[in-house]
């Protein structure tokens, strides 16, 4: 199990760092709720907005 953990650890942290370096990052970390019209933590719109 340790070998699996070593592989997952290296690949996981490596992927997070690679993604960060290869992707744009426009300012402060946000949640989907920060966007206008979001009605849930995943950014889903409110039922009233869909009518």
């Amino acid at each position: 199990m340790r070998v699996v953990y070593v592989i997952v650890f290296i690949v996981g942290i490596g992927a997070a760092i690679a993604d960060h370096l290869a992707s744009p990052s426009s300012g402060r970390a946000v949640s989907p709720e920060d966007f206008a019209g979001a009605c849930a933590p995943c950014g889903a719109p409110c039922p009233s907005a869909k009518k």
Partner: protein
């Protein structure tokens, strides 16, 4: 296998409490590296979220704080100490979240529409958490703490959230009503009073059930300390991130990015065209608040586990148990997307924000847990 069981097994096998330095150092260095990367971008709050996640991982692991086991004990035997600990955690968080979310610009509570999607998602999540033997936070800290079984649950959780993201718009189309927030109806302090009263009411009902079943309802010391520590850290995450702590959207982002890397076109699906998910798919994973705390929590649990015993030395559990972890992870992932989060984002965050959906999620997930507990013996897992 829960972390508690893993810890006990490891302790029996290795009487000397020696640190596992490679994993301890690896976890600490990785945390420092991620924090340094966001600090280089001039984002101290992001670094704060990573460190708060790290502290949450340590707190959960050391207190062996478990939503899944406490709900199961309550349903099976009426033992309510763990559930009372959870309610205490939520009450502590709500004291800051309700008033600040309602009155301070730049902050918001955890809200969600109330409808079939919430009910179905939470119910399915409840089944999954009993099969996997861990919820969103539980999966993070047990996987980080050295349980290979929960590593499989985490991988399947991630797959499940991506599948759920594709189905969510269709379930939302079934109908529902806008979020209902206590502060909108009773004002800032009235909303807080109603929220605390609702927690007290549920606590009283839980104690009444425990007494009727002649079961214990007093949390043990480690649960009390854990509830206070996690409650305070939940407030810290809220203040640093602007929203209550959430876990599962981070999994959706990780899965979405991996799917895109594999050539699967998610961007054309409705969920991924909403502004939040669309941005999360294209921007750095370290600009998503839930990813920051999730990564920190895994690394914190790893550091805490490796600091006190040899890390991940236990053998793999039987195949049936691994199958339960995989199926449970998939169900939790799918359910979390439809139900707007897990025990943290929907239940803790929702109730601590004074949002009615938090209690509805709790009721539906508890019903799902009842079914999940009945299914556990199929996979060689105890109902206790």
């Amino acid at each position: 296998m829960s972390v508690a069981t893993t810890t006990q097994t490891a302790a029996t096998a290795a009487p000397a409490r020696t640190a596992d330095w490679p994993f301890l150092c690896g976890a600490v260095i990785a945390t420092a590296l991620l924090a340094a990367l966001v600090l280089l971008d001039g984002q101290p709050y992001s670094a704060g979220l990573i460190l708060l996640g790290f502290a949450l991982g340590v707190a959960f692991l050391k207190a062996e704080f478990s939503f899944t086991a406490s709900w199961r004990r309550f349903l099976v035997s009426g033992e309510a100490g763990g559930l009372i600990g959870v309610l205490l955690l939520i009450a502590i968080a709500s004291i800051v979240i309700v008033p600040v979310a309602a009155s301070v610009r730049g902050f918001g509570g955890a809200i969600a529409p109330i409808g079939p999607s919430l009910l179905i998602g939470a119910f399915v999540f409840g089944i999954g958490m009993q099969l996997a033997n861990g919820c969103g936070s539980g999966t993070l800290y047990t996987a980080g703490g050295g349980s290979g079984r929960m590593l499989i649950a985490l991988a399947c959780f991630i797959v499940g959230t991506v599948i759920g993201s594709l189905h969510l718009p269709a379930f939302l189309a079934l109908g529902g009503i806008d979020p209902i927030l206590a502060a909108d109806y009773f004002g800032v302090w009235g909303g807080l009073a109603v929220t605390l009263a609702s927690i007290a009411l549920v606590g009283a009902a839980v104690i009444a059930v425990a007494r009727r079943r002649d079961a214990n309802f007093l949390p043990r010391r480690s649960i009390l300390i854990g509830a206070v520590a996690i409650g305070v850290l939940t407030i810290g995450v809220f203040l640093a991130g602007g929203h209550p702590w959430s876990v599962t959207f981070g999994f959706t982002v990780w899965g979405g990015k991996l799917a895109s890397l594999a050539g699967i076109d998610l961007a054309s699906h409705e969920f991924w065209q909403w502004p939040g998910p669309k941005r999360a798919l294209t921007e750095s994973v370290l600009t998503d608040t839930s990813s920051l705390t999730d990564l920190g929590m895994i690394l914190g649990a790893m550091a805490a586990a490796a600091a006190s015993r040899p890390f991940a030395r236990t053998s793999w559990p039987p195949a049936r148990s691994l199958a339960a972890a995989a199926i449970g992870g998939l169900l939790m992932g799918w359910g979390a997307r439809l139900g707007f989060g897990c025990n943290i984002g929907a239940f803790v965050g929702g109730v601590a924000s004074g949002s009615l959906h938090g209690w509805i999620w709790f009721a539906a997930a508890l019903a799902g847990c009842m079914l999940g507990i009945r299914l556990r013996p199929w996979f060689g897992l105890s109902r206790e």
